[in-house]
Symmetry: C2
Subunit: 472 residues, 2 copies
Amino acid sequence: MSKPVDNAVSTVRVRTYIQNHRAAFLDDLAEWLRIPSVSAQPDHAADVRRSADWLAAKLRETGFPAVEVWATDGAPAVFAHWPSEDPDAPTVLVYGHHDVQPAGREDGWDTEPFEPVIRGNRLHARGAADDKGQVFFHTLGVRAHLAATGRTAPAVHLKLLVEGEEESGSPHFRDLVEARAERLAADAVIVSDTGMWSEDTPTVCTGMRGLAECEIELYGPDQDIHSGSFGGAVPNPATAVARLVAALHDEHARVAVPGFYEGITELTDRERELFAELPFDESQWLRTARSTALHGEAGHTTLERVWARPTAEVNGIGGGYQGPGSKTIIPSSAMVKLSFRLVAGQEPDLVEKAVRAWVAEQVPAGIRHEITFGAATRPCLTPLEHPALQSVVRAMSRAFEQPVHFPREGGSGPAADLQEVLGAPVLFLGISVPSDGWHAPNEKVEIDLLLKGVETAAHLWGDLAESWREAH
Amino acid sequence: MSKPVDNAVSTVRVRTYIQNHRAAFLDDLAEWLRIPSVSAQPDHAADVRRSADWLAAKLRETGFPAVEVWATDGAPAVFAHWPSEDPDAPTVLVYGHHDVQPAGREDGWDTEPFEPVIRGNRLHARGAADDKGQVFFHTLGVRAHLAATGRTAPAVHLKLLVEGEEESGSPHFRDLVEARAERLAADAVIVSDTGMWSEDTPTVCTGMRGLAECEIELYGPDQDIHSGSFGGAVPNPATAVARLVAALHDEHARVAVPGFYEGITELTDRERELFAELPFDESQWLRTARSTALHGEAGHTTLERVWARPTAEVNGIGGGYQGPGSKTIIPSSAMVKLSFRLVAGQEPDLVEKAVRAWVAEQVPAGIRHEITFGAATRPCLTPLEHPALQSVVRAMSRAFEQPVHFPREGGSGPAADLQEVLGAPVLFLGISVPSDGWHAPNEKVEIDLLLKGVETAAHLWGDLAESWREAH
C-alpha cells in the first residue's frame, strides 16, 4: 500500500525497536526452551503439546489474529495467519518446528539442557538454535516490521507453520500439508531451520538434496553352510553384496547405476563461482566431517559434492557371523542399506526404477534378491535469480551489513514437501552457525545472530511485498 | 614277526570274531553314548571327564597295556599304547575324539539324543558317527586282528589318542601334541573322524584343506557422520570393505591376492581322473549345499574346487546401521571376516603375509585398517602311492569287497597338527556317510558300516606291518 520508508531510517527504527524489546524477547524464548518438547520420547508427549500451546498463545499475543493448534496422528503443529491489509500482497509461509532432540545432563551438558543460561553472547539450551530460537525470531521480527513502518498488519499475508515432529522424521507432515493445503497456500515458503556458513559469513541456502533409501537383501544357501565342505563351489551372498556395493561407483567415484544422472540440473558456472567464493578451509571441514581424507566424484569440489551432486552411500552392511572370533560358514544371506542423495532434476521414482533394474542385473546366479524402498524426499532448489530469493538476500545484507553468499544444504528435509504440495519456491532464512551444536550437548545460539535474524525478518516482509508488486 | 595267514582264511576269521562279539560291542558303545560329553557346554565338563575315564577303562579291558588320561587346560584326552612284539614294527597313531556336539530333544530329535536306540540297521545317538562310533570300532578291530592272526599283541605298535575338545575347536590340542610329542611319535597317523562317499562307495580320504582366518577392520570417520552433510565427499568404510571383498576374486573366481597360489601342489591328471570317477550327482550335491547354483574357480570341477583348490570366503561382514528402517549415516567403521582354505604347498605364514600386503595396498586413503589373523591349520595330503595309504586301501577293499575311491575333505582339522608335529603322514579311515547327520538332530551310524570299520581295522595292522617290513 504505502511506499516503504527510506532504508537507512527503517534500519535505525528496526534496531531501536529490537534493542528496546530484546530483554523481554530473550525472557520469552527462555520460557519456551524450558518446555522439554522431545518428540522422539513418548514420556514427553505432554510437553510437546504444552510447547505447541505455549507458542500458540505467544503468537496471539504477538498479534496474529488467527492461531490454531493442528492435531496430527502424532504431535501437534501450530498454524498462524496474519493477513496483510493489501489483498494483492503476496502470501508467505514460514516453516519451523517446536520439537527438540533428546538431551540429558549425562550426555555431557555443562548445565541442565532445559534450564536456559546466558553465558556471554550465547544462550545455551536444547532447542536454542534447532529450532525454537529460529522460529521465535519471527515474533519480534514482525513486531519490528510493524513498528518501523507504522503498519498495523504485515506487508505480506504472513503464515507460520511450526510442526512438532521434525526431530522424529516428520512422519505425519506430508499428510498434514496435503490435508491443509488450502490454508497453507503461499507464494513463497521461508524455512527457518537451517544455518549460515559462519559468524562472519552470512549466507542464504538455495537448496537441499533429496533422498531415496533402500535395503537390499541377498539370499544364498537356505541356511548357513560349512565353508570347508562347500567353500569355493557355491555363490556366497556376502561376497555378492560386496560386489554389488563395489559396482555402485565407477573409477571416478561416479554412481554407476545407468540413468542415475539423467535429467539432473547441472551447476552453472556462476553457481560454481559462488561456491568457490566461500572461505572453505579443507582441514577445518575434515575436522567437522571427523575424517582424514577427501573422496568423491571426480571433477567436483568438496562443496559441489555435498551440495549439488547426487550420491550413493552405504548406511549399513551386514551378513554372516559378526561376533568375536571366527565361524567357518558361508552365510545364508547378507544385506546392505543404501541411501541416495538426489539433486534438482532427479525424480525419486525414476531413481528407484533405475536402481532396481541395476541390482537385478548385478546379482549373480544362485543368489535371490529383494529390494525395499522407503518413502523418498524430493530435492529442492531455488534459482539465484528468483525475486523472493533476492528479497531474502537484501534483507539479510541490510541486517548484517555484509554481502551474502549462497551455499546449499547437503541434507534433506520436509521443506521439499511444502515446495511440492504448495507449488511454491522454498527459501531458507537461518542464522545458526556450525558451532551451535545441533543434536549435541551444550547447544546454543549466538544472541547477536539471533537478533540479526529478527532484523532480517523485520526487513524482509516489506521488501518481498515491494518486489512482488513490481513483478506483477 | 610271523607271516600273515592267507587272506581268505583271515577274512573268515575276522568276520566270525566280529559276528560273535557284535552284540557286546554295540552294548558297550551304547553305554559310552549315554555319557553326554558335550565339550562346548561348561555344564557337561564332568561328563566329558567321565567319558574319558570310561574310554580309558574300556581300552584297558580291550588289552592295551598302557592307558592314560591326559589332562589339558580344557577337557582330558585319552592315550593308549599297545606295543607290538616286534620291536622293528612300525608305530601307528590312531586319532579320534570322545567329545560330542550339543544336542537336545527340542532341536528336532525323534528320541533322546543321549539314549541310544537301534532302528533297523541304524544306531541313533549324538556321537554315534561323530566320533564315538568311529573311535570305538578300533577296540573290536584290534581284538579281531589278534583273534584272526593268533597274536597276543598287534602287528604294529598301536597308539590311540582320543581328544576331548574337537567339537570346541581343539583349543589345547596343538599344545598337548607338542608337549607329548615323544610319547605320540609314530610312523603313520590314522584319523578316524571322517567319512566315505556313500553307503555304496567306500572311499579313503587323501587330504584335508588347511585354514587361515582373519578379521579386517576398516576405520573411516571417528564417529558415524551424517550422510546428507558429508555424503559424497569422504571415504565410506562400508564401501571400502565392499570394494576390498569384491577385489578378492578375479573374473574367473580365482583369488586375486598376489602370491596366493604360489607353490601349491596342482592336481595330477590321475587325481583328476579319480575325482571324476566318483558318482557325483550335481543336483544332489546342491541339495546338500542348500544352494541353487554352482559357482567357483574357472577350469575346475565342483569336487576339485572343494577338495583341491584353495579359496577365500567371507564368513561375516558388517558395518553401520543394520536395524529396522533406515539411518542416514556414513558409518565410522566396517569389518569383514575372511577364511582361506589352503591346499598342499601353501604355507599359512606366507598366505598371511600375502593377504596383509594386498589389503594394505587396496585400502583407500582416509581409511585406516587393522588385520587380525587367528591360528592357522595346515593342509595335509597323502600321495596316492604312499605305502601306508595303499595298506588302508587294501584293508578297506577286503572289508567292503569293492574297489576304494579317493576323495578328499574340503574342511580342516587337527590332523594337520599331528602331521606337522610328529612328521608322520596322515591317513583317513572313516566309515561315516553324509546321511549320518553330524552336528544335526537324529545323528546315526549305519551298523553294517560300523562293522566294516571294525573289519578294516582288523586287516589293517597286519598289512601295514607287512608293507613296512618290505619297504625297510
